[in-house]
Symmetry: C2
Subunit: 566 residues, 2 copies
Amino acid sequence: MSTPPLNIVVIGGSAAGPKAAAKARRMDEHANITIIQKEADLSMASCGYPYYVGGVFDDRNQLICTSAGIVRDPNFFNAAKRIEAKVLTEAVAIDRNTKTVTCKHVPTGELTTLAYDKLVIATGASALYPPIAGADLSGIYTLHSLGDADAIRAIRDQKQATRAVVVGGGLIGFEVCEALHLAGIHTTVIEKMPSILPFLDHDLALLVANHVRSFDADIITGNGVAAFLGDNGAITGVKLDNGTELPCQLAVVAVGVRPNIALAQAAGLDIGAAGGIAVNEFMQTSDPDIYAAGDCVECTSLITGEKVRAPYGDIANLQGRVIGQNLIAEGSAKFPGITHTGICKIFDYTVGFTGLSATRALALGLDIETVMIAGLDIPPYMQGKLLISKMIADRKSGRVLGFQCIGPGDASKRVATVAMALRGQLTVTDLVNADLPYAPPYSMALDHVITAAQALENKLLGRMQGISVAEVKQRVDHGADCFIIDTRTPAEFEELRLGIGEVLIPQGALRSRLHELPQDKSKEIIVYCRVSLRGYEVAAILQGHGWNNVKVMEGGIAAWPYSREK
Amino acid sequence: MSTPPLNIVVIGGSAAGPKAAAKARRMDEHANITIIQKEADLSMASCGYPYYVGGVFDDRNQLICTSAGIVRDPNFFNAAKRIEAKVLTEAVAIDRNTKTVTCKHVPTGELTTLAYDKLVIATGASALYPPIAGADLSGIYTLHSLGDADAIRAIRDQKQATRAVVVGGGLIGFEVCEALHLAGIHTTVIEKMPSILPFLDHDLALLVANHVRSFDADIITGNGVAAFLGDNGAITGVKLDNGTELPCQLAVVAVGVRPNIALAQAAGLDIGAAGGIAVNEFMQTSDPDIYAAGDCVECTSLITGEKVRAPYGDIANLQGRVIGQNLIAEGSAKFPGITHTGICKIFDYTVGFTGLSATRALALGLDIETVMIAGLDIPPYMQGKLLISKMIADRKSGRVLGFQCIGPGDASKRVATVAMALRGQLTVTDLVNADLPYAPPYSMALDHVITAAQALENKLLGRMQGISVAEVKQRVDHGADCFIIDTRTPAEFEELRLGIGEVLIPQGALRSRLHELPQDKSKEIIVYCRVSLRGYEVAAILQGHGWNNVKVMEGGIAAWPYSREK
Ligand SMILES: Cc1cc2nc3c(=O)[nH]c(=O)nc-3n(C[C@H](O)[C@H](O)[C@H](O)COP(=O)(O)OP(=O)(O)OC[C@H]3O[C@@H](n4cnc5c(N)ncnc54)[C@H](O)[C@@H]3O)c2cc1C
Ligand SMILES: Cc1cc2nc3c(=O)[nH]c(=O)nc-3n(C[C@H](O)[C@H](O)[C@H](O)COP(=O)(O)OP(=O)(O)OC[C@H]3O[C@@H](n4cnc5c(N)ncnc54)[C@H](O)[C@@H]3O)c2cc1C
Ligand SMILES: CC(C)(COP(=O)(O)OP(=O)(O)OC[C@H]1O[C@@H](n2cnc3c(N)ncnc32)[C@H](O)[C@@H]1OP(=O)(O)O)[C@@H](O)C(=O)NCCC(=O)NCCS
Ligand SMILES: CC(C)(COP(=O)(O)OP(=O)(O)OC[C@H]1O[C@@H](n2cnc3c(N)ncnc32)[C@H](O)[C@@H]1OP(=O)(O)O)[C@@H](O)C(=O)NCCC(=O)NCCS
Ligand SMILES: [Ca+2]
Ligand SMILES: [Ca+2]
């Protein structure tokens, strides 16, 4: 070739950066590609840190190696990908006029200058660290870098700490909580907001919280950390906003991340309203020779059309790959946007979500309908496990806008399924008749996703009137005048019951016991069963007999997060 | 209400029939609903028979009960759903003029006549039973009814049979094979066609066959059963078309099903070209007062637009539910069609599929591109398991047309994900950037589905040239003049290798060993590794250095179904 090789410089060496570099290499064997990485390691699977910390595996190198077991160090990048990876090197300035990046070798402070034709900014994000008194005590960590993981893992291995506090009840907070629990450390998660896991609606978040508390782990919500308490420079506890003090030898702060935009900002690149570097669908910044991807950018929500930050490992890789193509063949690849899809394991629950929560949709002023259901992932005879889900749709168009799914069952499959439905802008009616892979080891004859869509369709069509467990609890607490029916069998009632003034009328006995129901056909009647399938059928029967204010308690007892009589 | 209650008669009491009846009841508490069921049982989870036969559970009632454990017998239907279920009652004629059904009580032969306003035909299908000599011997079964399941389960429990033959290598054939294997019976599956599992392309079918053979079970393909051999009226073996004789004390015939259309045909209803009762999207037959659903009908393929039969339990339920609505509110619900999605468990493999196989697409004259890949479902540090997949797309539009996924990994999730993508008519490019739920316990950072789409996109864009394992085998067997490179590490090569004349050039060493490659830049070079990820990268490097005939052996060693040197 007569044209000189392209000079590509990539700032950031974890997910988005190496992905862009690797893809550019596959597109062009002759470009010069350099990765600038501040830290000592490259290509870290950050998402795996909690599992390393918790002892799910012991070899740290597993976090930075290929599926074939080769560690992705500078030698690997050089040999396998002919990419020069400069580690312990920080990019300190971008000069867009001279098209150069000034780099500092971290150990020596030595400055060098690298010229680029095309530049990639993949500086990621930094863990937020709220300005709390006592934050300089030892024993307080974030879990953001591999160094952090090493440090917390060492605490696990030393077996000294017995009590820990996790500040922040988001995804990473709970992954850390579980990891510390596995390490034998009693852990309390402190969340300032009234609800944990902000992408979940409150009703589902309560159920997850109950699950966590069923292990030897605790959660405090609606209460922030006012101060870290210490002795001899080491943490000994935390003091909460309400004055409570909790002893601990370890605190992990996991209150979210802030995009690393300083370099981009100093270089005069546009920053978006959501606080990330602004990019177009080619992942190009306001300077056409500079691309950006990953935790440091914002991108389009395919659900709302807004610009949002999506600090997720999969998104960083997808965006990096788009850049890799555009570096070599400008304008050849687009990143369309995200559907807000994520997941995490919290003890024996999977907690997954895609699209908007009801809370978020309402905050956006959308006119939505929602449904909450419970059911098994596979048949009882195959040892099916419980799933509890909420599906959200636009009331007019019926377009599915969101789905949350939690429980011991296989929620991951259901969330992936609905994520793809969102991607295809499918409606509830499309999902109602979806042809999914059915066999008893893998799903119910009608998969949980289909059942959720059916129940939502029933609500949209006015065939089912729902009431949330929270509303029922409120009714009960305020002594509201409503008639509550548990529609299960006497045996089930003996074993477990809510005790909220309910009358037991098994579904099969209902038609012969209609005289026991309120004479006033417009009186509010609330029905439920274990998951509110029989409850729903009873509601249909009662409606058929003229009662016109019958509400199904959505999700049934399985979705009831409050205390029970039995 | 002043209008008299609607008379609804449903013929067939397993999946589609009861579903239509149950949904109609929820739509209208006052209709008279009667189910006519030939067999003694109702609402049988036929799909669970293999697991009952294999001893996964022991209580037969689990096949006919609700999630709450209530057996769906006529009492249940009466009490819970106010549906009259007449069991051991066969519908023997439909008179469309008088709108009546003639029923025969099976034990007594007594005939009665039932009047209907609306009729549902859900007569299902019957197991095909090829006219083979000796078919009247005892010890020969199908697994279609609950009675069949009882009988084969009894053989398991008696522990007398040691050798069995399964005639037919489809879904049910292999489920039976596994069940008999679990029962300690050595089983051979006989398939007349050259390939098992007709919905799979041959390359994937071979891998499944290898997996089955790795257990104490055998498969014979391209050879039919010519005769059942017997002694004293009991089966002692089978004789194959090629003369081979196999001893056995048990044979299970599973060569497919034939829709039960006799009643409909005799009543003069239209039968479609695919052999099922013809229905429109409301599931209405050529008589607007008669609906039909399930294994006895044909419906629309959303992929090809053709009318097809889809004898699956999920489809029967979906269609039944559509009828339930239309019975009460005519024209209120549509069944759009199917996407050919199915799955089964075969020993430790999951075998799933959606859309068209390559074979089928080519037979339809479609211009397609395909790719085969292998990879893990979740990261190695989380104990990821192998998946092997084939994705098929329309070459011009890029629309995804099909996906097959097999292996010990979680194929069920991937098939559900792509099934939904097919439903949304998504393209390969849409899938390439899908926002799926990522966390290490649930997927790779870029899920297997995304990787498959990326590889397919690479082929569509001419960035990767592929070659199938079958073509490579052919090249090797014919001593073709090509240069074959294994791109793994020496350690991997020591442990396991194909021995097809390959040269070991680890990916990381390639650039310094380019002189070892053929001088002739247009010489065919075939590269692979364990899964052909590194193989693909090596191909990109070679292309960058001017070799223009470099092919990646798709799926790598993981997809190689033939014998290996080591
Ligand atoms: C504990 C934990 C668990 C997670 N779990 C999940 C999960 O389950 N699923 C999921 O989707 N996501 C998860 N994430 C998020 C995911 O890891 C990130 O979204 C992803 O790593 C972002 O990739 P990135 O390349 O944009 O940024 P980063 O991974 O943050 O990488 C940026 C790199 O750039 C370097 N850098 C920054 N500035 C400079 C500079 N000026 N010069 C040189 N180098 C610089 C940094 O040192 C860093 O290594 C998790 C994150 C953590 C910490
Ligand atoms: C062993 C086995 C495993 C399977 N595995 C799967 C699987 O994993 N996934 C999947 O999707 N599908 C599977 N299937 C297929 C699934 O079971 C069928 O698609 C489903 O049962 C069809 O439902 P249906 O109601 O249309 O017909 P059927 O279930 O066949 O029911 C029809 C009923 O009608 C009755 N009947 C017929 N004629 C008359 C008459 N004239 N009068 C009165 N009654 C009549 C019959 O006795 C029968 O009970 C499997 C089937 C079998 C046998
Ligand atoms: C690994 C990393 C360096 C990217 O390198 P990469 O070479 O692009 O990634 P992989 O080794 O997975 O190779 C992927 C390529 O092989 C292809 N491929 C994968 N399996 C294949 C198979 N079986 N057959 C053919 N091609 C295959 C993919 O399509 C992709 O190619 P493309 O992008 O050109 O389409 C970067 O993602 C990284 O650093 N990751 C670790 C950190 C991280 O992701 N953290 C966040 C989450 S924890
Ligand atoms: C069970 C059978 C009789 C159908 O009866 P059914 O009452 O429609 O089925 P279910 O008991 O599952 O009830 C489903 C209803 O409850 C609703 N539902 C389920 N879970 C719910 C929940 N947690 N909250 C609210 N509604 C719920 C569903 O949406 C559906 O209502 P809809 O159709 O009005 O939308 C029929 O499917 C059958 O006989 N099945 C067994 C045989 C079979 O399927 N074989 C083939 C596969 S092996
Ligand atoms: Ca995601
Ligand atoms: Ca299906």
